[in-house]
């Protein structure tokens, strides 16, 4: 068993070393003598996009790592932090080798297996004989392809990391890693391609399903996909030992609160960075993001105050995250006040999803990845169809009405269809992946390991040694 594991690991290492080595030589091909297009690079846009990329990485760790880490029991704190941290490594390498190519390479349409950018071909800069200097390929007029690649790569990290909330405290680390690789290539990449690379879910693309949908920063691609997959994970892996019997309170809410704050800060990069520039659109997305988070951060604890007499910091944090999730697809299309409404709605709806609904259904989505990201993302995608406005984004051209609130009903239909496709696709593929992994590697640590905690059993370390 262990030998098998080691072999497997060695294999990976070889592959990981091999692929870039090949690419190294691939990149050594004779440089094309075309005219440089990078004169149009805007340092302002690039400055913002680089800062945004840093902010989005900060969301996964320390952000999500602390947020999730604080919510589990002490014996599993390193387990979840390690999942986040390791994914920062694993998914980034995967993205550079094939992920970016799958997601953003090739033509539109359903198929997503393009090797156009395989191992960063054509992404890095190249000596340009005509210009007499190295030239950086551009994504569009204003930022380098490299910037676009690395910014999008940060999304490829945090999306599977969000799922880890569902199977926290019991999943095998090795299986988690393999799951995230496959999930990334077979769920994230296609969705990303369909929505953001002119695929059949994008608004305004010819032949788009139900006219296509709007998703500014990842309501469908990131949150619905991860949240719904998380539900499948929670169901297939089963409840934690002692769930519903033993108390499993968050072991360090100070971490959770600080993690939530970092998520909030980092989300500015996530959402306003999705403008891919530093103009008015980025400012609008920034404001909408902030106000929705703010509204969520008060709505949830106020619900607690009303129904239970006390507002909690976990409620404020959960509400802020719910507000952030909900505004994600909408932030580049809505005005500030509707952003507040969306945040309030997210706070109230996710509050019920995580308390009443979850309790009724009895599944153990340990850290509420589904309740917050699945439900909040769906709500956000639908409300985008309501509040998107021509005042912010001229989606149909010529200043035609956009959202339901402006009197146009077609967008919301596209939104709902996109949500359904995302839900069905994500959950279906996740189900298949998990079934296969369950049969081959096994999903869950042994009962003994679970009782001892993942920190010791999976990583041989302890979180705190305070004696």
């Amino acid at each position: 068993m262990r030998t098998f594991l080691r072999l497997q690991v060695l294999l990976w290492l070889l592959v990981l070393t091999f692929v870039p080595t090949c690419a190294l030589f691939a990149a050594d091909e004779p440089a094309v003598a075309s005219e440089p297009e990078d004169d149009a690079l805007s340092t302002g846009d690039n400055a913002w996009m680089l800062a945004s990329s840093a902010l989005v990485l900060m969301m996964t760790a320390p952000g999500l790592a602390m947020f999730y880490g604080g919510l589990v029991r002490k014996k599993n704190v390193l387990g979840v932090m390690m999942q986040c941290f390791f994914l920062m490594g694993l998914m980034s390498v995967l993205w550079a080798v094939v992920g970016y190519s799958f997601a953003f390479g090739g033509e539109g349409g359903w198929s997503w297996f393009s090797f156009e950018y395989f191992a960063m071909t054509g992404v890095g800069s190249e000596w340009n004989e005509a210009a007499g200097r190295p030239v950086t390929p551009m994504y569009d007029a204003s930022i380098p392809l490299l910037t676009h690649m690395v910014f999008q790569g940060m999304f490829f990290i945090i999306t599977p990391a969000l799922i880890c909330g569902a199977f926290a405290e019991r999943m095998k680390f090795s299986t988690m890693a393999v799951f995230c690789i496959i999930w990334g290539l077979f769920v994230y990449c296609p969705l990303c391609h369909w929505v953001w690379d002119g695929g059949p879910l994008a608004l305004g693309v010819e032949g788009a399903v139900a006219g296509g949908a709007l998703d500014f920063a990842g309501g469908t691609v990131v949150h619905i996909s991860s949240g719904s997959s998380a539900l499948v994970c929670a169901l297939l892996i089963g409840n934690r030992l002692g769930f519903g019997k033993d108390p499993m309170p968050p072991h360090n809410l100070t971490y959770t609160a600080m993690g939530a704050a970092m998520l909030w800060v980092g989300w500015f990069g996530f959402n306003a960075g999705s403008a891919l520039s530093a103009g008015g659109s980025a400012s609008g997305a920034f404001v909408a993001t902030h106000l929705s988070a703010a509204a969520g951060a008060i709505a949830w604890p106020i619900m607690e105050w009303i129904t239970r007499g006390k507002p909690s910091i976990l409620g404020a944090c959960s509400g802020a995250v719910a507000g952030l999730v909900c505004i994600t697809p909408a932030c580049g299309f809505v005005l500030p006040m509707p952003a507040i409404i969306m945040g309030l709605a997210a706070g109230v709806v996710c509050f019920y999803a995580c308390t009443t609904l979850k309790a009724k259904l009895g599944y153990d989505d340990a850290l509420d990845a589904f309740g917050v990201h699945g439900i909040g993302g769906t709500l956000g995608a639908v409300l985008t169809g309501v509040f998107a406005t021509k005042h912010v984004y001229d989606g149909y051209g010529g200043g035609a009405s956009l959202g339901l609130a402006e009197g146009n009903a077609s967008l919301i239909i596209g939104q709902i269809v996109a949500v359904i496709i995302t839900l069905v696709f994500s959950m279906g593929v996740t189900f298949v992946i998990l079934k296969i992994l369950d049969a081959t590697m096994g999903l869950r640590v042994s009962q003994e390991s679970e009782v001892r905690g993942l920190d010791l059993s999976e990583h041989g370390e302890e979180g705190y040694i305070f004696l």
Binding site: P247, P249, E304, S312, T355, T356, A359
Partner: protein, 112 residues
């Protein structure tokens, strides 16, 4: 010699310590404990899941003293730790066979 174990409220520790030193006690050992008793714990609510936290934080003070000092000591603790509310805690007294000061090897009451 007697060993006195007093389980008292957390925020009474300072008072009990002062009260004990006033009546001449020169040493004690303190442990963080959690107590279960008539005093009910509280419930905590995390995202809709309610946990009954039955155990209340308490402090255990252990003092070894000579048989003659016992009464004085127990009274000192009683006076300092009492609030009259449920959950004030207990004093348990047991016999001690021997006590030794590690530094010098002295034994018996000399060692205290």
């Amino acid at each position: 010699m007697k060993k006195v174990e007093a389980i008292v409220r957390h925020f009474k520790l300072e008072d009990v310590k002062n009260s004990l030193t006033e009546c001449g006690i020169q040493g004690m050992t303190v442990t963080e404990v959690r107590g279960f008793g008539r005093q009910k714990g509280h419930t905590e609510m995390y995202r809709g899941t309610e946990y009954a936290v039955d155990f209340v934080p308490k402090v255990k003070i252990e003092v070894v003293c000579s048989d003659t000092d016992l009464k004085k000591l127990v009274d000192a603790v009683l006076k300092a730790a009492q609030t009259g509310q449920i959950g004030d805690g207990k004093i348990f007294v047991s016999d001690l066979h021997e006590s030794i000061r590690i530094r010098t090897g002295e034994t018996g009451e000399e060692a205290l």
